[in-house]
Every structure is written in C-alpha cells, then in structure tokens.
Symmetry: C2
Subunit: 345 residues, 2 copies
Amino acid sequence: MPQARPGLKDVAKRAGVGISSVSRVLSGHPDVSAGMRDRVMAAVTEIGYRPDIFARGLRGGPTMSVGLVIGDISNPLLSEISLGAEDALRRAGYSLLFVNSMNDPALEAQNILLFRDRHVDGLLLSLSAEDDADVLTALQTIEAPLVLIDRELDDPGEILRPSAVLCDHRGGMRAAISHLLDLGHRRIGCILGGHARFARMRRRGVEEAYAERGLPTGYSIVQGPLDAAHGQAATSRLLDMREQPTALVAGGNQLLKGCLRELRLRGLAVGTDLSLVSCDETDLTEMLDPPIAVVRRDTHQLGRTAAELLLRRIQDPDEGPVTSVQPTVFVPRPSCGPVREAAAT
Amino acid sequence: MPQARPGLKDVAKRAGVGISSVSRVLSGHPDVSAGMRDRVMAAVTEIGYRPDIFARGLRGGPTMSVGLVIGDISNPLLSEISLGAEDALRRAGYSLLFVNSMNDPALEAQNILLFRDRHVDGLLLSLSAEDDADVLTALQTIEAPLVLIDRELDDPGEILRPSAVLCDHRGGMRAAISHLLDLGHRRIGCILGGHARFARMRRRGVEEAYAERGLPTGYSIVQGPLDAAHGQAATSRLLDMREQPTALVAGGNQLLKGCLRELRLRGLAVGTDLSLVSCDETDLTEMLDPPIAVVRRDTHQLGRTAAELLLRRIQDPDEGPVTSVQPTVFVPRPSCGPVREAAAT
DNA sequence: ATGAAAGCGCTAACAT
DNA sequence: ATGTTAGCGCTTTCAT
C-alpha cells in the first residue's frame, strides 16, 4: 500500500474522472461543469490532496514565492522592512524566501542567481551597493519583475525595468537641519555612510537647508562605510576640527552607535554640550536619556508597499514599473538644544 | 532558435555523449572515465549549464535548502541566530528559507507545512510555543530531520526525534543572582516571559542561587508574555510591593525595554536607586548609561551549531538526534550596585 | 465539457 | 563504462 503523498491521479481515480479535469478544476479553468467541480473538490478534501510545487515549477508555472535580497537582517531597519513585505505577501498567498548577503556585493549577486534558480516569481531588492557590476549582470538574467527598496540603480537600463519604493530622505534631513539652525547652530557635523541613494539624498537635504536661509556652508560632511566604526571615527574627526561643530547628525543606526561611543569616551553630554540627531528610530533613539531626535519613516509600510508593487506586476505582467515615494518625518527631541559656546573637551 | 535555459540534453549533445553520462558526472557517480568527465565538464561550462532544482525535486532528490521557523526576525536575538545558521549552511552549499511567524502558533504550524511542501532537507525551529497541538501535528508530517533552537518539546515522541541546541540559562541566572546577593540584595524582582524552556530554566536559576546560600525566598517572580508591555507592567507591580525589591532582573530584551520605560516614568536611577540585570546583550544594554549587566550567550554560534547539527543529520540519515548545550556568561556592570535603603519614589 | 497523451529536466534501473 | 528508457506530478495541447 503506497502511503505516499496523494497526487492528481489519486484524486481523479477517487472522483471517477479524468486527470486533466481535476487539473482544470484546481486551476480555475472556465470550462468545467458545476457537478464536476463539486465531485473533484470533494475528492480533494477527502484524500487531503496538496499540489506539488516542484511538478508545477517544472512546467514553468508560478512558484508562489518571492525572494528578498537584503544586506543584513540583524539591522532592525531591514528586519522591519522584511516583516512588512512578508505580511503583504502572505495575505496574497505568497511566501518570502530570504537570503542574507552580509553587505557583500559578490554574495548579493550569487544570491540573485540562487533565487533565479529557485524560480521566484519576483524579487525584492535592498542592495548594499547600487553600482556593482556583478550584481547588475546577475539582475540582467532575471525575467521576473523587480522592486527596489529605497535604492536606485546607476543605470536601470531597458532590460531591468525595476519598480521602486523610495523614501524622502532629503526632505527629512532638510527639516532636521532647519530645526538645528533654528536653535542657533551654524556648525553642524554630518556623519553619512554607504554608497546608496539615501546618503546622496541626505547630503542634498543638508545643503538645501543652509541654502534656503542663505547661510554660508557651515556644515561638514564625513562620508564613509555604513557601520559603527565609521560612526565613531567620523565623530572623532569632527570633534577635533578647529571649528568644532555644535551639533551632530548621524545618518543611520549603526553610525549612531559609533557616534555615541565616541561621545561617551569624551564625556560629552548629549543635548547640552552638543546636539544630536539620528536617522531612523530604534530602541536606542527612544530609550536613551535624553531621547534622540530622529528623521523617522514607516519601515513596516515601506516593506508592505514594496511587496504590493511587486504583486501587482506579478499578477499583471503588462503593468509597467512604478516608483512610489514615502514620506519621512523629523521628530524633535531633547537631544537637540540651543547652542552653547565652547563645548567642554 | 530556442534561447531557453540549456538542459542536460544540450550538454550531452554538445559533448557527444549520452544524457545519463552527463548526469553521472554531475552527481559524482564513481563509474566514469576521466576522459568522459573532462568532456562533460567542458561542455557544461561552455554552454553555461545549471541544474534545474525543480526537476531534481520532482524526483525526490535533495533541494539543498533548509527552513527556519522563527517567531520574530525583528528581535535582534533571533536575527543573529539566523545569521549564524545561514553562515554555516551557505558554506555547505545550502540556502536558508526563512518565514516569520509573528509569534503566532497557528501561523507557525502553517509555515511548517509550507516548508514541507517545498521539500526542505531539514528544519530549524525556534518555536514561539513548545506545546501547541497544531504545531506538533504539523511536525509529525515532516520526514526531514529537525533541530530545535533553545527549545524543548513537551513530548518529543518517537516520531520527531529532534536534535536540539540549548543554552544554560539556569547557570547564567544563578550567577547573576549570586552577584546581586553578594552586593547585599535580598529582595530581587524577576520579570520573566514566554512559555518556553528559557523561562523555566531562569526561574530555577533564581531559586538555586538563594538555596545555595541557605537564604529564605526573598525574590518575587512575575511571569507573563514575552513583550515590552509585560516588562513594564511587571516592573510596576514589583515596585508597588510593600517590600520593594532593591534589584530587578529582566528575562529578555523586550522585557527590559518595558522595564526601563517604567523606571524612567518613576524617575528611578539604575545602578544607584536600584540594581538591574538583563538577559542577552543588545545595543541598549551596551549603550545605556550606566551599561546594564547581562547574562550573555553567543547567539551567532548558537545558530551555527544548530545548522551544523542539522547538516550532520541531513548528510547521514543514520545519525541519531543530539542535544548540545551552550554556555552563558554573566557580565557584571555598573547597573548593579550595593544595596541602598529605601529607594526614592 | 471531458479524457487521453505528450512532455517539462532530471535520476535510476536496465541494457549493452 | 556508457547509452537507452521509464517515469516523478503536473499542465496543456489535442481529440472527442
């Protein structure tokens, strides 16, 4: 007695009909009589039939899965995005396959090919680099629709046609800098990191805020990798400048961590000795004393929107690529105070 | 001209050999001549052949994928575990499929079945509940080997035979409590959460530390869900006791967050008004002022070990289930100080 | 409206 | 040691 998983054949036998009729019923083909549908569905539930994904995939059918290529899931920002995406996908009957790329473009390219081999129906991309040749090459081989999450490809080309969900980092940063300028700060140190869109946009936001008021370029921007080490090094460099900044802005949660380490080392008190703004809410920004002002965005929604954009294109291949922009909000907090001359060293 | 993906057939034609010879070379069959191997491999690279996972899966072969069932990836603890597991799996040529369960046992059961349908070669389980009937039922239908991550099933049964990686929460907690007792604390409030092994073990650790010194039961334990809301509520309850505790222990990072909220609300200073210990290192425990003493464990290693245990059983089906126990370390920090009489309210 | 039959790309049993 | 062939479970012509 074969205790094996029941197949289409078993359902057909059970219902006393042909195999292809069962297939038609299950795939919602229009040309099926009501009686046929009932008998088949009855048999299906009776013997507990479940379609075999692999047999379907072999025929080139949909796999009901979507791949997420992401730099580092242990970054709370990215994990929340993935949560939002998964939520939307599950509702639509899709599952999210997830692979971590350790922020390594080579691995990222490899993972893209891996998803291709697994016949994912679409790809969600939060790439760690926007201009890596291997990644671009790998993406060229993907036929399924693509959605970029807060990223912009250097040259999207005519082949890729990715949709995208972007965040208004520029506006958020402009608001943050304006707030600091309102408090009297003129020398602001900005710690940015990464080679992606968000760093460029934040830089522009800083520039705009000064330009808006016709103020001379009183800011300094230190760009580097998107990690805590750079956050600390950049902070140190900024605080060693002859014209020491009276306020710092950290462009991300990892950078913030490094920045805070350096401030602690130097015994500087946030909010009084020095004002501080960070980007993206985390436990730290919320729980530290004083709480840290942040440029905030809805990460869960970001992931959900990305998934929705993707689903739309999966379900209707004629849909063209779409770009959606999500707002950011500046949340002032006691980490920002009025200027005080000569912070203690 | 078919621009389609090349198949075994194309390789065979190109190399001027039979299809099965190609299959044999690729699957490392012993009965192949050196010449055959060379010609086939040459053809493979020439036309860029890549095996089709679905055709393999259809034949019941390995899919080179492992599923991870996890409650909440946005918990840094779990994301680090998944990072460690993925690392080990990738080295072995496996990829990690990951599905989030929102801490909902029903979803968890559903996800287990989903992985089964995807023919994963093994399952890594960090279940949110250890005794859910649906989850147990779902697990019964899995033929692939199972590894529990810091969990213990109520009744493992003879069918499941799961391997497991456990953590010595009991020892870590005993060390933490001993440290507090050394500092003179006698009334210690413990905030525990969740229905899994770690909560039981931590409770035992507390009991043992008091018993070891022949001290009367001076602790109070407040058990509840594993989230920030319970952390805050439990803290409030403990601080409202007639015999107010002079030290608190939070059994996890979410609980800690709630606890800190309540302490801030009451204006209590950690380390002076009240001593505080938490479980598991996070940004918060490290960056707060003063830093928070923690019972620490190597989460990356935890994930890696789980993956290794799983791989061993995947690669040799005769291997029986194994349980490995990982150490925990208590890290004393300035959040713990000597007892002070009557904390300010 | 329904059933029979041909593959999808691969592996394994069988032949040589 | 190598080639031939029969399926794995499904979708999709193609008949009827």
